[in-house]
């Protein structure tokens, strides 16, 4: 199924507002989705016999830079029966307050593999996933402060009283 057909399928099912835009400049096209409907979109793409995107290759949390103040998540889906790939993107503005993390819906109910991927995105970029069963830090220690892959991250000088060189 081409990108056009997938777009048509999604807009017919969920209305026009579900797709915010698309990126076709590079080698891989991407669909920009409304953040709130990501679960339904993923579920539909996975279950619909015409698309059947049953494999979540990768999930990436992204900080779009200090000026943009935008956080996003990129999903790379793959369909095993049709051998196709699809990129979905969602993003939200956020003012980098550590008490108000950017928050998206978790898709662990659709793809279980999103569990660890979302934990990683939370751990490194500070993106909160609503409805995740166990959103703890995964790579860094539980008491780590800050989110290292944010563009404004300052390296810590001390960790538990130990000087970091």
């Amino acid at each position: 199924m081409s990108l056009k057909e997938i777009k048509l399928l999604l807009t017919e099912k969920f209305g026009n507002e579900v797709i915010v835009g698309e990126e076709t400049g590079g080698l891989q096209a991407a669909l920009l989705i409304t953040p709130d409907s990501i679960i339904e979109v993923c579920l539909e793409l996975r279950n619909n016999p015409k698309t059947y995107f049953d494999f979540l290759s990768s999930l990436t949390g992204i900080d779009y830079g200090v000026e943009a103040s935008r956080f996003g998540v990129v999903y790379h889906l793959a369909s095993i029966p049709y051998r196709t790939q699809l990129t979905l993107k969602i993003s939200k503005e956020n003012d980098r307050d550590l008490n108000e993390l950017p928050s998206f819906n978790s898709i662990t109910s659709v793809y279980r593999t999103a569990d660890w991927h979302e934990r990683e995105a939370y751990d490194l970029t500070g993106i909160f996933f609503e409805g995740h069963p166990d959103l703890r830090r995964i790579l860094l220690p539980d008491d780590w402060e800050g989110y290292p892959l944010r563009k404004d991250y300052q390296n810590a000088e001390y960790y538990k009283g130990i000087k970091i060189d």
Binding site: G26, H76, A78, Y111, R112, D134
Partner: protein, 400 residues
Amino acid sequence: MNITDTKYNAALNNYNNKIASAATEDMVLNMGPQHPSTHGVLRLELITDGEIVKEVIPHIGYLHRCFEKHAESLTYQQTIPFTDRLDYLASMNNSHAFVMGVERMLGIDKDIPKRVEYIRVLVCELNRIASHLIAIGTYGIDIGAFTPFLWCFRDREHIMGMLEWASGSRMLYNYIWIGGLFYDLPVGFEERCREFVDYFKPKMDELNRLLTDNQVFINRTANIGVLPLDVAINYGCSGPMLRGSGLKWDLRRIDNYSVYPELEFDIPVGKGEMGSVGDCWDRYKVRVDEIDQSLRMIEQCLDRLQNELKRTTDFDPRAKLPRKTIPKAQDYYVRCEGAKGELGFYFMADGKSEIPTRVKARAPSFNNLSVLPEIAKGVMIADLIAIVGSIDFVLGEVDR
């Protein structure tokens, strides 16, 4: 920087409460991080009822070396040595994937000389054999077979020696560069490699007689840790893990990248010969069969490299190296079949600098390991060792 709001700590508190309350009735057992059967620094927290594992909570991150953070401050070319350190048992495959992605973004992937591509595939397949030999050898030692481990390491040493001859280092090669190679193969490499293939084939038969068909080994692995296909797909498992569950899914065939479409090889899948499809023995057997297929590919590569793509004095593997590695502004996700499964890199290029805005590594071991709590529920502790070994993860890649 104190986060007073507890809404982001809810999961951590839940976890702490669970461990605290489990300690009164069940036993909480820590396996690792410094435990040989966890293949690196993995800590498994087991909630056990006697010998039965009620729940497994993996703790990873002990080997986190900030690959993605480093990649944001280094140029594409400078990042290649860092990719070597992801799956350090199959470094060539990592740099091949990374380089392929950057070349496609630059639009030079069609200009790479055929000889360079064949050398890349040759060293990748050699490295895949080395990685699978470790998987097989350490799997044997996990469940009590000591000899196969020594045999596998003996044969792997030949591959290490050859790759050292080509690249100058034993494990972390930095051999595949964007647009070419570090050097051409040393004179005599092809002949030496052919000798190795002839030497190694009978050794595989020996290994099969010693381990694969060993009744003790079969009893320990057949029908243990059965991973159904739908669970495997939903958990994002790939590579021998997915093929062990019976699906013919190999990105070398699906995506037909590099020169793989010109090579003949089969895709071994788990058939449940000794137990049920997707058990530990199937995953092990897929790796054994893949070694044979890799040997087939190596022979075909050598045929080409010694005949129509023979070395010439004026051949320069660095001829196509780009002067400036500045891709157009775009996002690109490249995937390829690493030794452990689908290895992917996601690049965000801004079109202005040689330094990517963001690089994400999709590590196959990370996803393969994430299925462990699901398939290890309710097994005996001794079987857990067999399951962990059959996943064949590398912590360098899990933690990145």
